[in-house]
Amino acid sequence: MKLRLLVIVCLLFGMFGPVVHAQDDMMEDPCLAPMEESGEMMEVPDNSHISFEIILPNPRGDRSFIDSAAAGAERAIAELGVEGVIIETQGVQEHDAAVRRAIQDEPNIVITIAVDAVIIEEVAVEFPDQKFGAQETFFFPAPPDLENLALFNILTHENSYLAGMAAGMLTRTGTVGAVGGIDAPGINLFIVGFEEGVKSVCEDCQTVRSYVGDFSDPVTAKEQALALFEQGADILYQVAGRSGEGVLQAASETGNFAIGVDSNQDHLFPGTILVSAMKRVDNAVFSFVESVVNDTYESGTTTVGLAEGFAGLSWDEGICSRTFDEYGPEDLVAQLPEVRAAIAEAREAILAGELEVTNALEMAG
């Protein structure tokens, strides 16, 4: 009995042995990497008297929204030389405690990511001397006017529209779909914009959608994606955080396609992910910290989107992801120049105000 146990334990350790080495960092961007490295090495200003704390709504590792926010915080620490603390929470039940805990350290700014409006308003009123920077918090109908509260919202209906155009032009079956995390205005902002984009280039295309009901259940998301592919969809836009991994995997396994969200996800399944609709949460976090460093912090609401470069596609300049060009099937890759030209045209129309995309948040407000 004892001997048997020993053997089992040894076996397990034997299996674990060879796996203990760190993963190579594959996130390096071929377009940006050489430029940034040379500049960065030169000078990091000493701002160690300035500190910030950032509260993430969920643990890191979604390879999407939350990781993007964390990346922004890490960049701020590295490039601005400030002291920063990244606080991960397990979900909405911990947000209030985490925010209050951060306030106790008296950092120059407390940054919250997608923390509920009720919590933020309460603590911002309670601690008038603490500066807050809230990313992704939507107050309905209007935000409160507080001296110490800066809101930063990135609207993603316009870049979702552009992603929708890509889907509408590249679909072979005439059906495309979206998988959302939950049926909420913040998620429908993406999906409604996407569907409009699809319809703009492909009048007869059908759009389908499905909601996982959870941002961290990829198993369910995968089954939903399979159900949508079965309905004839061949391109799915995932707006489901960690659950979205299941959508991407389902697309890769069935030979269909997907569109990534928030971060650049093109490389996760090369040749499966057409493009990613990016939301530069990292830049938003960085700009919050920068505003404290440069003493330009201003309360009030800032709403940005495609025009300001906070929302875009992974094909855009600066990221210039060309993963799909390299790994995608020939017939679709051949269409890419045409698609990119149409998107560039639509982008200009949106920026010039000639083309208006429905903002699902306003509809909800």
């Binding site: 146990l5 796996v19 993963q23 779909g177 389908v208 990829p218 079965e230 995997q249």
Partner: protein
């Protein structure tokens, strides 16, 4: 109504079986293959998990740590494969073994050191949930998601002759190995529980520990074995999620499936075959909710559709409870009909006696 139920029990049972068969036939012919396949895939973690839960329950231990053991299995399966180039099967075996080891440790802590069962189970669940996150960061240096091209998922098996059959083809063929193992395990667990000496010992221990002990059964050993097997089944269920459905590990990816498996086992009154069909029912309810959402012309709110599995569960629970109550009522009626006269005679006998005494 009750009299009708009472006198026509046999007929009613036959009618119910015919109905069940009819429903099954409609299920197979009327529903699209993808929905059936999806149900079976979604049911698999419940099948394996509930078998694990019912084995432990039969041995008299309510195994609340199924969720943790599942999550550990999911993690170990992926961790073993990470950049090692092993076959996915190695990961599945490692996951099963790791679940078994956790089950063994759990059993020793509970039975030898006598830690409170519920506290221990919750501690194990928390430890695994956070331990897997810790090891992902400490060992692999990644946050939340452990994925790598070196981790491949289990291949889908097409069974040569059966796959060409019209209805049975999509029903029986086209899953990965763990799904089939799940089906086999239902039979294995049933045979073990009801046709072997060891199974009799497990049931004896579960029914009445003192009585089992008094006839010379080593209660502790039986429980340790049952919990170890239970852990192995849960570990396998976890491997199904991380290597069968996906090919990556995500933080807390079991998403309470272990708890549902436990519910399934309670719901099926700890019977393996019933647990299998209950799991299928749960899987079907889930798959149906996705299927309905995927129909663009049906304009039903998503939240309502997503609540479908829960609504189905409540409906089923009510039905089972009603059935149990009805059968109790019938038994009482039966008893009154058979012994009513004798009981009243007895009462009459007692009453005059009382009168005499006063």
């Amino acid at each position: 109504m009750l009299d009708l139920l009472n006198t026509r029990q046999r007929e009613i049972r036959v009618v119910m079986r015919v109905c069940a068969v009819l429903v099954a036939i409609i299920f197979l012919f009327g529903l699209p293959d993808s929905l059936v396949q999806s149900s079976i895939r979604l049911a698999t973690p419940f099948v394996l998990g509930s078998l694990g839960a019912l084995l432990a329950s039969r041995a008299g231990v309510l195994n609340l740590a199924i969720e943790g053991k599942m999550l550990l299995g999911a993690f170990v399966g992926v961790a073993v494969l990470f950049q090692s180039g092993h076959d996915p099967l190695v990961g599945v075996i490692a996951a099963t073994v790791s679940g078994g080891i956790l089950g063994l440790v759990f059993a020793i802590l509970y039975l030898r050191i006598r830690i409170n069962l519920i506290i221990l189970a919750l501690a194990v669940n928390l430890l695994v949930a956070n331990g897997t996150v810790f090891f992902m960061r400490a060992t692999f240096g990644v946050y939340g998601t452990l994925a790598d091209p070196s981790i491949r998922s289990l291949p889908t098996l097409q069974i040569p002759l059966i796959e060409d059959l019209p209805v049975l083809g999509p029903l029986l063929s086209g899953y990965n190995a763990i799904v089939y193992v799940g089906w086999v395990m239902v039979v294995v667990v049933w045979v073990m529980l009801f046709r072997t000496r060891f199974g009799r010992h497990i049931r004896a221990v579960g029914e009445n520990q003192e009585a089992a002990e008094s006839v010379g059964i080593n209660v502790t050993r039986v429980q340790i074995f049952a919990l170890t097997l239970s852990g192995m089944l849960a570990g396998l269920a976890g491997a199904f999620l991380s290597l069968g459905v996906l090919s990556q590990f995500l933080e807390n990816m079991t998403a309470a499936r272990g708890w549902i498996a436990l519910t399934v086992s309670l719901f099926a009154l700890q019977r393996p075959v019933a647990a299998f069909f209950t799991s299928l029912f749960f899987g079907f309810a889930e798959a149906l909710s996705f299927f309905i959402q995927a129909q663009p012309h049906l304009n039903i709110p998503a939240d309502l559709v997503l609540a479908l599995p829960q609504l189905a569960t409540i409906a089923a629970l009510v039905m089972v409870a009603l059935r149990i109550r009805a059968s109790e009522l019938i038994k009482r009626r039966d008893f009154a009909a058979r012994f009513g006269q004798e009981i009243s005679d007895l009462k009459d006998m007692v009453r005059p006696g009382k009168a005499e005494a006063t």
